[in-house]
Point group: D3
Chain length 135, copies 6
């Protein structure tokens, strides 16, 4: 596993950079919570999902979060991750209006129930941001 | 139903414009084939999916096709529509490299099998385009 | 969008009729709640899902709600919509016994976990109805 | 296993009756093909799916096939079973028009791609029936 | 239905044995709760899922629970059943470490969101066991 | 990316070892075909899926392939990967009888259609092996 970690005894450097780009101020808290549940899966999230995939130059972070939201709304069963990536999308510059558009477009692809649950998740996140004075 | 159709006896005007934007030269052939199978579903595709959803100003067509690809790869079970939207994505300016990036990102969200099937579909479409001298 | 709305400044007339047929006394409350979250998706629910699809003559409302329940239990990830359509099914004359039969049949098609979750949702709705003195 | 089989050395009697009701003239061929692949799963199909679930009095066979079609179109990944149950639905009196209505309704619940694949499967079955002079 | 029940007026004998093997001390409580919701589905769970499938000699109970966990994490939408089978897996000798490995492997097959939800469910069950002084 | 590759200019060493353990004699052919489609995804399959996940000590290769089969049958939409892992399961010592048991168990978890498609895939692979004189 050492070969993958560029950061002795710590978090994968590139992965952690990309992770913070997406998760902003909440990064440390989210990662600590994930590390508490499963240090190994936490490491793979940084090494593979963020350190390899999100670090690739072919798509900007804005587009990657649009891709993530579309996948998560289609699945329908990953509400915590969906909400987390709605925050992430806002952090990398996707607007609230664009997030709502993605959810509405899903009505045609994944059906109205998926779209409705996506919009409800988005509203929950927007209201939480408003209470916190964010975005 | 009349209220929805702006084009007497014909196809929903705005939907058909958006549909041609996505499907390009293949539009007439795809739509005729769909109308032969189900005139009513064909009409809803134009009136609702393209005439309402794709006609909305909040996301450009490039982003809408990125959203569509992400949803279809996640589903895994809609290969004909996935291939059709890979063509569509190319038509509205998504590059082959970007399409491959979306598929690779799906490995982290929907798993490697979904990503592999997405990449295989993309390769099939790219080769078909090469044979036709397109994109 | 005007062409679709038959009701100046208001709700799609046919869609709203069908929506009330399914959702009964709860209709105004459900629709206002949906309009508060996303006026556009709310409009599409009335214009397309109810105004077009549910307004079609080929299946009676009872059968349409049986179809809806079967789809929602199979998805497994749309519990709020499943509960809403269990209410809807009762409103258009599907009996509690028939709803339980649909859930039990799903054990063979979508597996026991989906059937169990469907039955749990049905029980929750039946108990809520009993408390309210309905159906 | 004996306790379940009412038919010594043979097929579950009630299950086989219900199976023939749904699958009509093709029953013997379908069941032999299934028995050749997996005698045990074939037995469970008759004993549980048809002998228990389909034998229950709460829903008529027509409704059970409507439920089956709705579930299978929603899944999207079970095309052979979907086609088999489109035949079955026709056998128990669901009309072609009603089958098309179910597929169209799925556009609102499971999305347009699922509905399109359902309609394509239905068209394939209808054409096969026309060639055979059935339904 | 009588032919299936070996236990006059009671629970399918073999199914109930297998069910207790998986569900341990919680068996009576779980089954009573299921019987209260749907006596018929409860009976099928014992007669078919446990009395037929789990009673087959081809796989030991440990492996069957590993298969069950893999399926339930992949679905993503059956959290109550997932938690119940995490308990079951522990009861038949799958270790906490093995359960975490299954969840981590799912990151590659069903994606990181499914794996994360699986790990969260496992942690919840492990903590509940710790509070109860089990496993 | 270099940090991940232990094998200069070549394939991830540990991942390639695990990959060959699962895929046997077909490994070179499968990997070359994957590298031709997407060198990057091919690298991640070796580096992450096999080099990290499958290289973990917590589960033996036999169990990992049982987990993989259960996930792939549940998905229903990844037939090429399912067939590939049926070969893989045989290669690491899962017997044909055990593979059939997994498929039959899926009838209770993911429904009969998924189980039937899994069994059909298994039969196809077994017959191909028989023709090749394998397993």
């Amino acid at each position: 596993m050492e070969a993958m970690t560029e950061n002795e005894g710590g978090r994968d450097k590139r992965g952690w950079e990309r992770f913070r780009e997406v998760n902003g101020e909440a990064s440390e808290k989210i990662m600590q919570s994930l590390e508490a549940i499963s240090p190994d899966l936490a490491r793979y999230v940084l090494e593979f999902a963020y350190g390899k995939v999100y670090d690739r130059p072919g798509l900007d972070m804005r587009t990657r979060e649009i891709v993530a939201l579309s996948a998560l709304v289609t699945m329908g069963s990953a509400t915590p991750q969906l909400k987390s990536h709605i925050h992430g999308a806002l952090n990398v510059g996707v607007t609230r209006e664009e997030i709502m558009e993605i959810m509405i477009q899903m009505a045609a692809y994944a059906g109205f129930p998926a779209a409705l649950n996506g919009i409800t998740a988005a509203r929950d996140v927007f209201e939480a941001c408003d209470r916190m004075g964010e975005s």
